[in-house]
């Protein structure tokens, strides 16, 4: 049987690999067939039926997203029969959707709205089902708002939560007219296993799942003269923000972003990359300390492998699903929370501002960061360390609200102190980045030499595979680290919580043994975070990733421990990694949670 099949779509002959769907075959010849439930990151569902097409010789219409292309097929993607059916299907969806577009947060970025426009859905459609039913709007979570009245039951969120993330917080319940997307026992999402990763938000075609926005609160703080408002920006925001402002994916706009933030009125524009470097120092030393306890002191209580803790979605996932591994989580806080704790202590005293009058805002590619900022552990400064977390999307919206012509902005630099970063801090935004950054520092601490990789690029930990393993042989150590002589440091990098689950299962059953594991909740790491511009796809994530590594390679300083502001803060304030002040401000503890 030949590997290729040849079919005709709208009269154009096309050859594709066997197994390719009609939808993808059409794409190769630039014929766009509309879809709603289809998403390239997810398995085929075939349930919205918007992509139906006509096949010569078949009475019924066939779903292009689910039908494999076959030899001799003659497909008509836009016949009258197809258009009529499609229009009726869109009309049906609109009839069960609270189509109040002007007051909807997703107005202008809604796939149903776009289709409704394309098919000219008028007012003489079907009976509006919305007033006839009761709907739940779940706005209790600090991260995500779920509005069932806007749900079109495409199940993208369910597939995201289940197969991409392996969480299963969202599921289908009931049937027929009562069918809906629900949670365990219909509980609000903040009470269930939801990790707040926001991958569902990134894929929801309508406004049924959106982030909880804090734009108005931030505006109020900026315009409150008694408040000093500091803002920090996460590594992955600078490589994606432009997308939300009409640019192609993969553009780095660090300087314009800083300029825009200053124009918005923030009193200090600082960089989460700085505390990313700090995380590397603290977490790297924590790893070394654990290795020392295990290999030198033969301490039976030490927990290895150590896993990273900067992804709040991953942290909550572990607290729910693998609470027995809580002690394996690095106690180091995430860069956002290290920043928050330092902003209202070290930084406040440095610039002579009362911490009580300081408002700390962060711009994150993430919805789980909103939750993290609200965790009860995150009051190390005596105040809520981070007051408001905005997603990349929210920042883009603020820039639009302020009437700023983003393109014409001249590049600007971060304020100091806590504005300087190394290339190692930048790559935190990509999967494998924390591992690479940590190895650059840890290897050098132990051996006094740079990691033995060309240009400091530890390519084995980079990439898009869901789980990657790499080991690095440590030799010719400095005298105090002689217990690591000849040790092969085994590392693992995973992104997407389903991959995380598989890695932790392997660790639990003993089929895998590592010293250090980096896990990011989102596919691609933070650059594919739940707070990033919509849409997302593997191609978009790849382009953001290239941008991040480009930013790293262009940095003068590539290693966290060489960041001069890091050197300075240890000298002036923290004294030493894992020291008393660090423990108070930069480390945290975890809470076991229920599995449902």
């Amino acid at each position: 049987m030949s590997d290729q099949v040849t079919l005709k779509i709208d009269g154009i002959s096309v050859s594709v690999k066997r197994g390719t769907t009609v939808l993808d075959a059409a794409k190769t010849i630039n014929i766009r067939i509309p879809t709603l439930c289809h998403h390239e990151d997810l398995c085929v569902a075939g349930n919205c039926r918007v992509c139906v097409v006509e096949q010569t010789g078949t009475d019924r219409l066939i779903p292009a997203c689910a039908m494999p292309a076959a030899d001799g097929m003659e497909i008509h993607s836009n016949s009258l029969k197809v258009r009529n059916a499609r229009k009726q299907i869109v009309e049906l969806l609109v009839s069960e959707h609270r189509a109040e577009c002007t007051t909807c947060y997703k107005n202008g970025n809604c796939e149903l709205q776009a289709l409704s426009h394309e098919y000219i859905i008028g007012e003489n459609g079907y009976i509006n089902l919305i007033p006839l039913k009761e709907y739940t709007i779940d706005y209790y979570s600090p991260s995500i708002i779920k509005d069932d009245s806007k749900c079109i039951r495409c199940q993208r969120c369910v597939r995201t939560c289940d197969e991409l993330q392996g969480v299963g917080a969202l599921t289908v319940s009931h049937k027929g007219s009562e069918m809906k997307i629900s949670t365990f026992m219909d509980k609000p999402i903040y009470q269930v296993v939801c990790t707040n990763c926001g991958q569902c938000v990134n894929r929801c075609p309508t406004g049924a799942l959106v982030e909880r926005h804090y734009i108005d609160e931030v505006w109020a703080a900026i315009y409150n003269e008694k408040k000093f408002v500091v803002v920090q920006t996460a590594p992955a925001v600078r490589v994606a923000l432009a997308e939300a402002l009409g640019h192609e994916p993969g553009e780095i706009v660090t300087g314009k972003m800083v300029a825009a933030l200053r124009r918005l009125g923030f009193d200090a524009v600082l960089d989460t990359d700085f505390t990313a470097d700090l995380t590397i120092i603290e977490e790297g030393h924590e790893l070394l300390q654990r290795l020392k306890r295990a290999l030198k002191d033969k301490d039976p209580d030490v927990k290895l492998p150590m896993t990273t803790s900067c992804s709040p979605g991953w942290v909550k996932f572990l607290e729910h699903i693998f609470p027995e591994f809580m002690e394996n989580l690095s106690t180091a806080k995430s860069p956002q929370q290290m920043f928050g704790a330092l902003a209202k202590t070290f930084y406040a005293s440095k610039i002579g501002v009362e911490p009580a009058s300081m408002v700390s805002v962060s711009i994150m590619p993430c919805t789980a960061k909103k939750y993290e900022a609200n965790r009860p552990e995150m009051y190390a400064s005596g105040y809520q360390d981070v007051d408001y977390v905005l997603t990349t999307r929210e920042l883009a919206l603020m820039i639009k609200q302020a009437g700023i012509d983003f393109n014409s902005l001249a590049d600007d630099d971060y304020d100091s102190i806590m504005g300087e970063s190394s290339g190692a801090g930048v790559i935190f935004g990509a999967t494998g980045g924390v591992m690479e950054a940590a190895l650059r520092t840890v290897y050098e601490v132990v051996t006094g030499r740079e990691v033995p990789f060309d240009g400091l690029n530890i390519t084995p930990v980079r990439g898009v595979e869901g789980v990657r393993e790499a080991s690095i042989l440590i030799n010719k150590t400095l005298p105090e680290w002689s217990f690591l002589e000849g040790v092969e440091l085994k590392t693992c990098v995973a992104h997407g919580l389903n991959n995380a689950r598989n890695v932790m299962k392997a660790v639990r059953d003993g089929s895998a043994s590592y010293h250090f594991i980096e896990i990011m909740a989102c596919p691609g790491g933070c650059l594919g975070g739940g707070g990033q511009p919509i849409p997302t796809s593997s191609d978009i994530r790849k382009r953001r990733s290239s941008a991040i590594y480009q930013e790293d390679s262009q940095k003068v300083i590539r290693k966290s421990h060489e960041n001069p502001e890091i050197v300075q803060i240890y000298k002036e304030f923290l004294i030493e990694p894992l020291g008393h002040t660090s423990h108070k401000l930069l480390h945290t503890k975890y809470t076991a949670r229920e599995r449902y």
Binding site: L92, Y126, K175
Partner: protein
């Protein structure tokens, strides 16, 4: 030539020769048995009418090691209750059919997917199954049958939703292709047959394909068990030769005042009195008039019945029993129901019925599975034939 079609007593005949029939059948080659089934003209009795022999052959041709045979006893179509009777009076025939199928396709495990409401059949079935297992051992056939209880959803009678349900998932139909004979339960090649179909295979093994072919007409061979209900003095289960006109059926079973017959349950067609003579109960063939396949549900309505109420009742059922995953079925069923109610109340003009007929056609063309596709059958046939009853 007009054939005199008659009532029969084949399926329910109590025959105590299972072991002998199985021995005789299994002594023949797989190819011979399948050819007999194809020659007999037996088609699936669940309603869709797929040729049984062909289905077995497709599964047999798949090279997979692990295969399954499932007896679909989720009898959920409103107005049908024949599978219950077959399973309680002649389960041995059903099991024998499964055993032969297992040998042909190479399956070691079979299941009876039993409708939740038929729980009371379980104790009896379990005794029969354990005797059947002893028989399998005597015949050196490595084959076991287990009962799997459904949970009461109509949609789980749809074969791919049934597999999902058995796999512990939500009972939602799958995309097709792939088809069950290649990708069924647990992703393995699976033959899924209706209870009655399997029972018929027994008769074919015993009496040969020619005897079966002699019954019925053209493309509708053999006999069929009907569940007769509604306005009839003699409701119940009847085995009839296939191919009867609806007029003959009503003459035999009606109360003299029959105004319509719903053939094939809520998902079937409604035939008004004026079309009784031209309608044949059976599969599509080259006959004049219309032939209607059926899973065996025959509901007779006399002139005291409001067809609006009948339709509303069906739609109510579909609104609840749609699995809800695909748009045309989930929203379409609700719109049809609300639509006819709005027309009846005068809130929508009678012309709205035409928009609803278009919607029903779109559902037929685009719904993911047989449930959504067949809502149009009852809707369109009732609205078109009894339009004035919908309005006034």
């Amino acid at each position: 030539m007009i054939k005199n079609l008659k009532r029969l007593d084949l399926i329910f005949k109590n025959e105590q020769d299972t072991e002998a029939i199985l021995e005789k059948t299994l002594a023949r080659s797989n190819e011979e048995i399948v050819n007999d089934l194809i020659d007999s003209g037996l088609k699936g009795r669940g309603g869709a009418g797929f040729p049984t022999g062909l289905k077995w052959r497709l599964a047999a041709d798949d090279p997979a090691d692990e295969k399954y045979i499932i007896c679909n006893a989720d009898e959920g179509e409103p107005g049908t209750f024949k599978d219950r009777e077959i399973l309680s009076s002649v389960p041995n025939k059903v099991l024998a059919g499964m055993a032969v199928c297992a040998r042909i396709i190479g399956s070691k495990q079979g299941f009876i997917y039993l409708r939740n409401e038929y729980k009371f059949l379980v104790p009896g079935l379990e005794i029969v199954i354990s005797e059947f297992h002893e028989l399998m051992d005597r015949l050196n056939l490595e084959f076991r049958v287990a009962i799997f209880m459904g949970s009461g959803a109509y949609i789980c009678g749809e074969e791919s939703a049934l597999f999902e349900s058995m796999e512990g998932k939500r009972g939602e139909p799958r995309n097709k292709p792939p088809y069950p004979t290649n990708f069924g339960y647990k992703g393995k090649p699976t033959v899924i047959n209706n209870v009655e179909t399997l029972a018929h295979t027994y008769s074919i093994f015993k009496y040969g394909p020619d005897k079966f072919r002699d019954l019925g007409i053209k493309d509708s061979r053999g006999s069929k068990v009907f569940s007769v209900s509604g306005d009839t003095p003699i409701p119940g289960i009847y085995e009839l030769e296939f191919g009867m006109t609806l007029q003959k059926f009503v003459d035999d079973f009606g109360d003299g005042d029959s105004k319509a017959v719903q053939v094939g349950g809520a998902s079937g067609f409604c035939v008004p009195r004026k079309k009784f003579e031209k309608t044949i109960i059976g599969y599509q063939g080259k006959l004049t008039g219309v032939s209607l396949p059926t899973g065996g549900s025959m509901m007779i309505f006399n002139s005291s019945r409001s067809m609006y109420n009948v339709l509303r009742n069906y739609l109510d059922f579909f609104v609840e029993e749609s699995c809800g995953q695909c748009t045309p079925c989930r929203v379409g069923t609700q719109q049809l129901l609300l639509g006819i109610e709005a027309v009846k109340r005068g809130e929508k003009p009678s012309g709205y019925l035409d928009k609803l007929l278009e919607l029903a056609e779109t559902m037929r063309l685009t719904a993911k599975c047989g449930l959504g596709q067949s809502v149009a059958n009852s809707f369109s046939s009732i609205v078109e034939n009894f339009r004035e009853e919908m309005i006034y």
